[in-house]
Amino acid sequence: MSTIKITVNRYNPEKSSERYTQSYTIPYKEDMVVLDALNYIKNHVDGTLTHRWSCRMGVCGSCGMMINGDPKLSCATFLRDYYPGEVQVDALAHFPVIRDLVIDMSDFMDKLVEIKPWIIRSEEKPLEEGEYLQSPDELNLYRQFSMCINCMICYSACPVYGHDQSFLGPAAIALAHRYNMDSRDEGQDQRAEIIGSHEGIWGCTFVGECTRVCPKHVDPAAAIQRSKVQLTKEYFLSWIWPRGKR
């Protein structure tokens, strides 16, 4: 029977303030993903292993973690890409760890609210009048940026966030951009104040790793740079043609 070694970087504040590694050798099958391995360990070997997961199909965003040094979704990463080598699993980088592979998400959840991720309009159309018309082309302008599953893998890859957690970060800014590009939204100015700050887009030095690791191809780096171009244009335009009058 084929086996594979999984080494987990663990943490239990009730036992020690330091982290420790623990290795497990488990049966291997070609169609197993890392999540399957972790579940096998938890169910049959060591019930104390703690990790988050839910949908197991790459859409809920729960299972982000470091796998051999790269941030990935454990449900979408196949063991066969590492077999017969060892697979090293660690909690998502740049986040405080609550226990084992479970990280503290409160910073991200706060940032999500900060960027006002909802349709902002001065006047709402009554429901009886039906939908706001939006052509497929208009939908395509923001569709890609709406695909974010909030897995926070991009934050793990971003060295700016790693150094300074006050940075708004790729996913939050990409979401702001999603709403800014939505033809139904009129909140660009409100969001510009938030993302056009040092903690916002101007903190980004365009490393581009966020885009490379994003499992949903949201391309947050593009969202941030385009926001930079947009806000810069707006800034200079506002000298000639103040916003309120446009």
């Binding site: 943490y11 504040p13 009730e14 303030s17 982290r19 040094g69 980088a93 740049h94 986040f95 405080p96 760890v97 609550i98 503290d104 052509s135 082309d137 208009e138 395509n140 060295p159 790693g162 150094h163 030095t205 365009f206 490393v207 581009g208 790793e209 885009t211 490379r212 391309d219 780096a221 593009a222 740079q225 385009r226 930079k228 171009v229």
Partner: protein, 136 residues
């Protein structure tokens, strides 16, 4: 550590980012090289500005400046500057399609066209400058 009496925030393990983070991944290293290349581009600009200043100070001063630029050390420096400038230019050209979204009507221009246009623009401007500066 007694979890019973601690606040949840105090029980968190807070990771620390290493000073050598940029050596830990290939892409991080290449990013730092790209950022470093800006220094050399800036250096070239500075050297050019000094040249303008020397020119304003008279023909002799300017000739001294030009000789300084022809020393072996200076030639090595210029090779280094050229390499970094090329790296700088190529990386930024390749990032351009991601940033510059061009629309004709309601359709988006395919990114590959933006890339090709960037290369062409670079070639054309380089040729013009080459002609102006090198062809007497």
């Amino acid at each position: 550590m007694n979890p019973q009496n601690s606040r949840p925030e105090d029980l968190l393990y807070r990771p620390h980012m290493s000073f050598w983070w940029w050596l830990q991944k290939r892409n991080y290293f290449l990013f730092m090289v790209r950022e470093l290349s800006a220094v050399f581009v800036g250096l070239f600009a500075l050297i050019s500005l000094v040249g303008v200043y020397r020119l304003s100070q008279g023909e002799d001063t300017y000739q001294l400046y030009l000789s300084a630029l022809q020393t072996p050390a200076a030639r090595v420096l210029f090779v280094v500057i050229l390499l970094f400038s090329l790296y700088h230019t190529l990386t930024w050209i390749h990032l351009t399609p991601m940033i510059m979204v061009m629309r004709i009507g309601s359709k988006t221009v395919p990114p590959i066209l933006v890339l090709i246009a960037s290369y062409l623009a670079w070639m054309v401007i380089s040729l013009i400058l080459f002609y102006l500066l090198m062809v007497d």
